[in-house]
C-alpha cells in the first residue's frame, strides 16, 4: 500500500475563514469566537483514497498583512495550495490574485491549486458571482469549491479534492516533490526540518507592503 505525504499551504485574506475551514475538517468543530491566527498553525490529517493513504501536512497561515513576509516559508516546497476567499467580501476575492501571482513567480514545482469560496451560508450577501469565481479558478488551473465551515457544507470535498489532486500529480509529472512511501508505517516519518529555508533573522524582515506585487525575489530550490 502506498502512502503519499503532501505539504498543503492555506492562503488568503484575513478573516475569510482559513482556520475555521481547516479546523472544521481536521477536528469537525467550529467556533464563532476564534481569534486571528498568530503566525501559522500546523495541522496534519490522513485520508484514504482508493487504497492510497494521503497524509496532509497543513500549514494554516495568518492572513494579516504583517505576517506576509513569512508566507514563502510555508509555500516553498508545498505540493498544494488552498486559496480561500469570502464570497461576501469582494476585496478578499481580488486579493487572491496577489497570492496566485506570488505562487506562480516563486514556486517552480507543479502544485495542486484549489480556490475555495467560504461562507456559502451567507449566500444572500454574496459579492462574488459563482461563475466568475469558477472562471477565475479555471484560468489559473485551479479547481473551485464553495463551502461553509460554519454549517459544515462542502469542506470535506475540498480536502478530498486536494488529496486526489496530489495522487494525480504523482502520476502525471516527474518533477513533483511529493514524498512517497510504500509501507503503511509512516508515523515515524516527520517532515524534514530543512523544508523551511534558513534566513538571517538578526536583520529585520523586509516585507512586501502591497498585495499586488511579489514579496520575495528568492528562487525556490528544489527539495530532495
Amino acid at each position: 500500500m502506498k502512502t503519499i505525504v503532501g505539504k498543503v499551504v492555506v492562503l488568503g485574506h484575513q478573516g475569510v475563514g482559513k482556520t475555521s475551514t481547516v479546523i472544521r475538517y481536521v477536528e469537525n468543530s467550529f467556533s464563532q469566537h476564534i481569534t486571528p491566527t498568530v503566525g501559522a498553525s500546523f495541522f496534519s490529517c490522513k485520508l484514504l483514497i482508493d487504497d492510497i493513504t494521503v497524509k496532509l501536512q497543513i500549514w494554516d497561515t495568518a492572513g494579516q498583512e504583517r505576517f506576509k513576509a513569512m508566507a514563502p516559508m510555508f509555500y516553498r516546497n508545498a505540493n498544494a495550495a488552498l486559496i480561500v476567499f469570502d464570497i461576501t467580501l469582494r476585496q478578499s476575492f481580488e486579493s487572491m490574485q496577489g497570492w496566485v501571482f506570488e505562487l506562480k513567480q516563486n514556486v517552480d514545482n507543479p502544485m495542486v491549486l484549489c480556490v475555495v469560496g467560504n461562507k456559502s451560508d451567507l449566500a444572500k450577501n454574496r459579492q462574488v458571482n459563482r461563475d466568475e469565481a469558477i472562471q477565475y479558478a479555471k484560468s489559473i488551473g485551479a479547481t473551485y469549491h464553495e463551502c461553509s465551515a460554519m454549517h459544515d457544507q462542502g469542506v470535506g470535498l475540498v480536502f478530498d479534492d486536494v488529496a486526489r489532486g496530489l495522487i494525480r500529480l504523482l502520476g502525471n509529472s516527474s518533477d513533483h516533490n511529493l514524498k512517497v512511501y510504500d509501507s503503511e508505517n509512516i508515523d515515524n516519518i516527520m517532515a524534514n526540518s530543512s523544508e523551511l529555508e534558513a534566513t538571517d533573522t538578526g536583520k529585520e524582515e523586509t516585507v512586501n507592503l502591497s498585495i499586488n506585487s511579489i514579496a520575495h525575489g528568492n528562487t525556490v530550490k528544489k527539495c530532495c
Binding site: 476564534i34 486571528p36 505576517f67 523544508e195 529585520e204 524582515e205 525575489g217
Partner: protein
Amino acid sequence: MSSNLEVEPGAASESVLVTTDSFDNFDHMSSSLEEIKNLNALAENDSNVENSNVENFDEISENLSINNEEDDFVQSKEWACKNKHVFVLSMAGKPIYSRYGNEDKLAWLFGVMQTLVSFVQSNEDTIRSIHAGDTKFVFLIKKPLILVAVSRTQESVNQLCSQLNYVFNQIASVLTLTRLNKIYEQRQNYDLRRLLAGVERLIDHLLDFSEKEPSFTLGAVQCLSLASSVRDNISSAIVGACSKIKNLVFAILLANNKLITLVRMKKYCLHPADLHLIFNLVQASESLKTAESWTPLCLPRFDASGFLYGHVSYLAEDCQACLLLLTVERDVFFALSEAKQRIVEKLRRSNCLEAINESLSAKEETCIVAGFPELRHYLYKCKSTAQFYQPSLTPPYTKYNERLTKLYKRAHNLLHCSTRPLKLLFEKNSDEAILAWDTRGFELYVVFEPLIDTNSAINSVGRLLNWIKKREEKLFHLNAPTF
C-alpha cells in the same frame, strides 16, 4: 522594623529575569540576536536577498465608509466619560490607535495632540504631561510614534508613562523597531494601521491587563506554586529534550498568567517587560489552543531589531499550560515540534502534568488560611529575581478588586516617585490600613484590617516574611536553568 532574615525571601544567586528598574526604553537591550547567531557560528551565511521594496503604498480607503453610529459614539458622553483613553499617532499626526472609538472619527483630536507635541518641540523642549483638575494628559514621544494617555485614574505620570511604553513595546514586538523606523524613513505619511490589523486587539488586551495585574506595576512576574522538585523535573525535561537544538534561546512554560519555568541559553536573560508581552500574547490569542503555531516575535527589551521565532503550543488537552520555544532560526519548526512531544511524554511519565493541574486548580492560600487573620492581602516582590507573590483574594476585595489595585498603585507611587520617594509607608483610614516597605532586597505591600495598631502590624510583617522565606522554594523559581 528589623527582621532576622539574612537573605530576603525569594532571592537566588542567579536570576532568570533581568532585574533593572528601568522599563523606559531600549537604551539597554540585554542582548543581540546577531551575537547569538555569530556565537554559534552559523557557517552558511545565507545571504538572502532582502529586496527592499519601495512599492506603491496604495492607500486603503475602502474601510473609510462613513458610519453614523461611530460618529455618534466619539461625540457621546459615554466616550468622553471613559476613565482612561490611550491614543497612538505618527509623528506626522496620522491616527494609529485609539482605545475607544474609531480613530478615523478622531482625526481632529490627533491633530491637536500632534500640534501640542510639535509646538513644544519647536522650543527645543519636550511635552511630558498636562494637568487639568483630576485629569492627566501624558505624552510619550518615541520616534517615530507619539503615544498619549488621557486619564482620570489616580495613577501617576510615571505609571501612565510606563503603560504607554508597554503599548509602544507591543507595537515594536509585532513589527520590530528597525522595521518601524524604516517604514517612516521611507514615507512619513504611512498609515501604520494596515500593518497593525489585528494588533489593536493585543493592545486593548494589554491595557486592560496592565490595569488589573500587579505584575505590571511591580515589574515582576508571579510563579505557579510548585514543589521545587517538580519544577526542577520540568526544567530538566525541557533541557533534556532541547539541549541538542542549536540556537534555542528561551523555553518558557506558563499557565494562567503564572510562570512555571524558564530555561535560557547561557548568558541571556529575559526582561520581565518582555515576558509580560508574551503573557499578553498567549492570553489574548485563543487560537493558539487549537494547534501548534509558529510565529515571529520580537522581544523589544531583548533585541528590538529582529525577530525570534516561536514554537507555541499547549502541553496537552488535559493540561492547559502553554509552552513557548524561542529560537533565532526560522527553519526548525519540526525539530521543536518533536522536542515538545518528548517534553510532554517525560512530564506525563513523571506525573508533572498532574502536579501542574493540581496547583492550577488549588489556587494560592488566602491570608487567613496561612494564619494571618489580621491581613487582607499583600504583594511581596523579590527585587533580585524580579518575581513576586500574592495570596488569593479575600472579601471585600473579591468584589472590589479595583479598589485594591488602586491602593497598591498609590503606595507603589509613593515609594517610587522621583521627587521624594518613601522607604516606609503606614496609612490607616476607615476602610483599611496599608503598609508599604521598600528595602534593598524586596518590596512589600500589605493591606491590613483598619483597626490594626502599629506594633501588631510590624509584628505580622516580620512573621509574614518568615512565612514566605520558609516557602520560597515553592513560591519562586529559584534555579536559573540553562540549555
